[in-house]
Each structure stands twice: as structure tokens, then as C-alpha cells.
């Protein structure tokens, strides 16, 4: 029957009864949970509503966002630098990068934050120059006292970003390794310097590999900021809601308030990440389409 070959196939689709049953069960369970939660007194939804946009909470959410943004910004710049140093032809750069990553990735971020908080009690001043040589109190070098009141916010940013830089360095390194050697060779044979090759050829291609885990790191950082209480900085979202609940003896709604804000920020980040990933997939998506 050669004539029937070109007609569209009309077949009965495969049925999935188990899939439907499981979906129904999950949907009903979810509804039951929500209905129950809506009436459960411990959640105290009126308190949730009252504190969600409390000025103290929104301000703390702003601090958490600022901590995350600044720390990640510094961590990404430093991480890229460390990753590039790791494969620099210069052995000094390679060693410095390795030692930095070894130290900051090898100790807990909580411990590092406590350490940075104690910095001013360990070192009283910061000095670059030749010690013990001075004319009339004028030191041959740069001298700066470390203030006991150094901003806890900036200490927290310092602690978070140095730790994160070590992780970012490894992510960037993986991205750089994913770029075919031939790319570097082609750029080199055009006469591009090592740095131009990195900047214009290797890094742009590595971005496609670097961005998804970086988005993950930003989300992770958003939540890691809740550890800044170790510094001790207590103006961030988690510390602030915890302080409020200590007054009200009503912790659950404030945990929900904090969670709602964290979720709101991570959702925003996911949307941003989607568009950034699309931007850096240029050429590569073309490849996938072409191979279909």
C-alpha cells in the first residue's frame, strides 16, 4: 500500500494511568497541607503579614542583598583573577593562586568570619615599609591603625568575598579548561598576546560553562550571609528577624518572613540567570541547532 505512506499517522496515544494517579495524590496532599497551614495557629499568619513589610525587616533584607551583591562582585573579580593566575606562564602567579585557594577553600566560612571579626584585636595597625626607620615620627612607609570600630558590614563583605573567591576560582578554572586548546593556538598564531587571547577568545567561550554554577553560587551566597552573625554583624535579614522574634516570643512567623524574602530574591536571580545564559550561548546554540 505505497499510497498510505505519505498520510499523517493517526494512532491512539500511549496512556499513562500511573502518572495521573501520582499527580492526583500529590495535588491533593498539597491542598491538604495548605488548608491545614492556613488554620494552624503556630504559623500565626496575621503576624506574618504584620512583619513582612515591617521597616526593620525590609531594611535588613536590603542589608542581606547588599552583602550578597558586594561579596559576589568582589568574589567574581578575584575568582577570575585567581583562575587566570593558575594557568599563567608566571610561576609566582600560579603559586599565589594555589595557596589562596588552598587556604580559603580549606577552612569553614564561619571560622573565617569569626577570624576577620577578631582582626583588630590580633593586629593593631597596618604598615608597609621598612620598620624602625623613622624621622621625627615620620615612618618610611605607609602606616594605618586598624580601628576597633571598623565597619562590621565591610568586615563581613571581606570575609564572605575572600571565601567565595576561592570557589569562584575553581568554577572559572573549569570554564577555562572547557575551551578547546585549538582556540588558544589559533589566537596565538594570529599574534595575540596571552592576555588578549584570554580576554577576547578563551574567557568569552568559558562564560557559557561558568554562568550556571555562578548563579548557583549567588543563591548560595544569599543564604550564607545569614552566617555574618559570626563577625558579629546583626543587621542582616536572618539576625534581624531572629531579634524581633526574641522580643515577641513568636519565632515561626518571623522564620516565614525571612524565608519569604530569601525565596523572593532567589526567584529574581533565577530570572536574571535565564537571560544571561541565553546571551552567552551565542554561537553555541547555533551549533546545537545545526547538528539537529
Amino acid at each position: 500500500m505505497p499510497s498510505t505512506k505519505h498520510e499523517p499517522i493517526k494512532a491512539v496515544p500511549l496512556r499513562h494511568p500511573v502518572r495521573w494517579a501520582v499527580a492526583l495524590f500529590l495535588a491533593l496532599s498539597t491542598v491538604a497541607f495548605i488548608v491545614d497551614a492556613a488554620h494552624r495557629s503556630a504559623y500565626d499568619w496575621s503576624a506574618f503579614g504584620k512583619y513582612l513589610f515591617d521597616p526593620r525587616v525590609t531594611k535588613a533584607a536590603g542589608v542581606t542583598l547588599a552583602l550578597t551583591g558586594l561579596s559576589m562582585l568582589i568574589a567574581i573579580v578575584l575568582g577570575v583573577a585567581l583562575a587566570i593566575m593558575r594557568r599563567s606562564p608566571n610561576p609566582i602567579f600560579r603559586t599565589v593562586s594555589w595557596v589562596f585557594i588552598w587556604g580559603f577553600r580549606g577552612t569553614p566560612v564561619y571560622v573565617q568570619l569569626v577570624f576577620w571579626g577578631l582582626l583588630s584585636t590580633i593586629y593593631h595597625s597596618f604598615f608597609i615599609g621598612i620598620p624602625d626607620i623613622h624621622f621625627h615620627n615620620f615612618y618610611l612607609g605607609f602606616h594605618q591603625a586598624i580601628s576597633q570600630n571598623a565597619s562590621l558590614f565591610w568586615i563581613a563583605v571581606l570575609g564572605l568575598s575572600l571565601n567565595e573567591a576561592a570557589y569562584m576560582a575553581e568554577i572559572v578554572r573549569a570554564g577555562l579548561l572547557s575551551v578547546d586548546n585549538g582556540q588558544e593556538e589559533a589566537a596565538t598564531s594570529l599574534g595575540m598576546s596571552w592576555w588578549a587571547t584570554m580576554r577576547y577568545i578563551v574567557i568569552p567561550q568559558a562564560m557559557r560553562i561558568i554562568i550556571p554554577p555562578t548563579g548557583n553560587e549567588i543563591v548560595s551566597m544569599l543564604k550564607t550571609t545569614s552566617l555574618v552573625t559570626a563577625v558579629p554583624l546583626v543587621t542582616d535579614l536572618y539576625a534581624r528577624t531572629r531579634d524581633i522574634s526574641a522580643e515577641t516570643y513568636n519565632p515561626v512567623p518571623l522564620l516565614l518572613v525571612a524565608s519569604a524574602w530569601y525565596l523572593f530574591f532567589t526567584t529574581l536571580l533565577m530570572v536574571v540567570q535565564y537571560f544571561v545564559e541565553k546571551r552567552f550561548a551565542r554561537g553555541h546554540t547555533a551549533l546545537l541547532e545545526a547538528n539537529v
Partner: protein, 253 residues
């Protein structure tokens, strides 16, 4: 006139693997030389040594009268600074077996990248020149295409245009048609023929004996890291002197 390329007793090893065992040859200005030989004979390695992608262990290579990779002062050799080595490379075009186009850049951007980033030509001038070069290799219609949207033959022609953009005095081709589907080989060889007719000095590692016979001025047969036989392509192809050349040609012809 001094030859474009002079190689004297070039040795190269990777660890205990002695790949080049004393290569000496000269390529005159405007000459097209085909390097042929079995895989592993060191042809590609030799080509990569000419633009210092690989460091040689002993011997000398000079291009256009200038020593490659080093500066000679009295009896001593001094390694070139990265910037000086890069400047040498920019005068030597290289075309790779796997094209190595930059996948995140369009065809035109691939061609202009070197002009903009190495020669410091401004973008609009580079684009004018880039469009001319892509037209020359028959790709005037593909300026905005990413490499993944081009056929292998088209990609290799973009790669040739990219090298030509640096106005090289010497072009090196490392098996430029080996990764291509058979029906796409011709379009790349045509571009190379056109290039040869303009007087470009070219060293071509290839298995295309037809191209060698038709276009090359000289042919060098390498095996085991040494030059076994060199001469006019017609002579070597029709009357090989060495047994190794004979057995190789009997397999590829």
C-alpha cells in the same frame, strides 16, 4: 634574495619521543612547498615549530631573514619576550586541520579579530578589509554567520581569510582539507590555488597529491622525523627514488 624560510638541523622531542631528527630545508620567496609523509612523520610538528607554537630543542629556523623564537647576540641565544614572539607569529599565517574558528564570533568577527586586537586597526576599517577578504574566499554572503552555521569547507575558507587579514609573508597549512567531507575539499583547494597564484609563500602539509602536482613548486617527503626525499612534485610522484617514498606513494595514489 634570501629564502623566506631556512631550517637548519631542526630537532624536536617530547620527552623521550624524538619527533624531528635534523630537518634542513629552504623555501624560496613565492614558493609553494608541499610536505607529505605518513602520519607521525613529524610534518605537522615541523610546521608548528616554524611559527614557534612549539619550541625546538636544537637547530635554527629563520623566516624572512629573522631567527624564530630567539635573538642571537654574539655566541648566545636569548629567548624572545612574549610580545616579540607574538609579533613574529602575526607575520606567519597558520591554517589548522580543525579550522579552530572562534565559535562565539561571526565569520566577519573571526576575520577582524586579529586586525583589531593585534594590529590595532579600528573596527570600521577592519570590517571593510574583512568583507573584502571574505569576498575573496567566496563568502561575501556569510558575513554574519557563526561558524556552527557554516559547512566545513566554508569554515576553512573563513580560517584562511582570518590568517590573510594579518597580511602574512608566509602561510602554513596543516592538513587543511583532512577534516573535510570529500565534496568540500575542492572549494578549499581552489582558494589555496588562487593564493598561490598571487605569489604567497606557502608550506602545505597535505595528502592531496593532485594539489601538490598541480600547484606546488617543490615537494618534501618526510618519514621518521627526517627529510627522505625532496624535489619537483612531478619527479617525486612519478619517479620516487627511495623505497619509503615508493611504499608511501603506492598507498596514497
Amino acid at each position: 634574495m634570501t629564502p623566506m624560510v631556512i631550517a637548519e638541523e631542526v630537532h624536536k622531542s617530547y620527552g623521550s619521543n624524538h619527533v624531528l631528527r635534523g630537518i634542513s630545508l629552504e623555501v624560496a620567496r613565492g614558493e609553494v612547498m608541499c610536505l607529505v609523509g605518513p602520519s607521525g612523520s613529524g610534518k605537522s610538528t615541523f610546521l608548528r615549530c616554524i611559527n614557534h607554537l612549539e619550541k625546538i630543542n636544537s637547530g635554527r629556523i629563520s623566516v624572512d631573514g629573522t631567527l624564530i623564537g630567539y635573538r642571537e647576540h654574539g655566541e648566545k641565544l636569548y629567548e624572545l619576550k612574549p610580545r616579540e614572539a607574538a609579533a613574529q607569529r602575526s607575520g606567519i599565517g597558520m591554517v589548522f586541520q580543525k579550522f579552530n574558528l572562534f565559535p562565539h564570533l561571526t565569520a566577519l568577527q573571526n576575520v577582524t579579530a586579529g586586525m583589531i586586537r593585534v594590529q590595532g586597526i579600528n573596527q570600521s576599517d577592519a570590517e571593510v578589509e574583512g568583507k573584502k577578504l571574505l569576498a575573496r574566499v567566496g563568502l561575501a554572503e556569510k558575513l554574519e554567520h557563526y561558524p556552527a552555521h557554516l559547512s566545513g569547507g566554508q569554515q576553512q575558507r573563513v580560517a584562511i581569510a582570518r590568517s590573510l587579514a594579518m597580511k602574512p609573508k608566509l602561510m602554513l597549512f596543516d592538513e587543511p582539507t583532512s577534516a573535510l567531507d570529500p565534496e568540500l575539499v575542492g572549494e578549499v583547494l581552489d582558494v589555496m590555488k588562487e593564493l598561490a597564484s598571487t605569489g604567497m609563500t606557502m608550506i602545505v602539509v597535505t595528502h592531496e597529491m593532485g594539489f601538490a602536482r598541480e600547484v606546488a613548486d617543490s615537494m618534501v617527503f618526510m618519514d621518521g622525523g627526517v627529510v627522505v626525499e625532496a624535489g619537483k612534485p612531478t619527479e617525486i610522484l612519478s619517479n620516487p627514488q627511495h623505497d619509503r617514498t615508493k611504499s608511501f606513494l603506492s598507498k596514497v595514489l
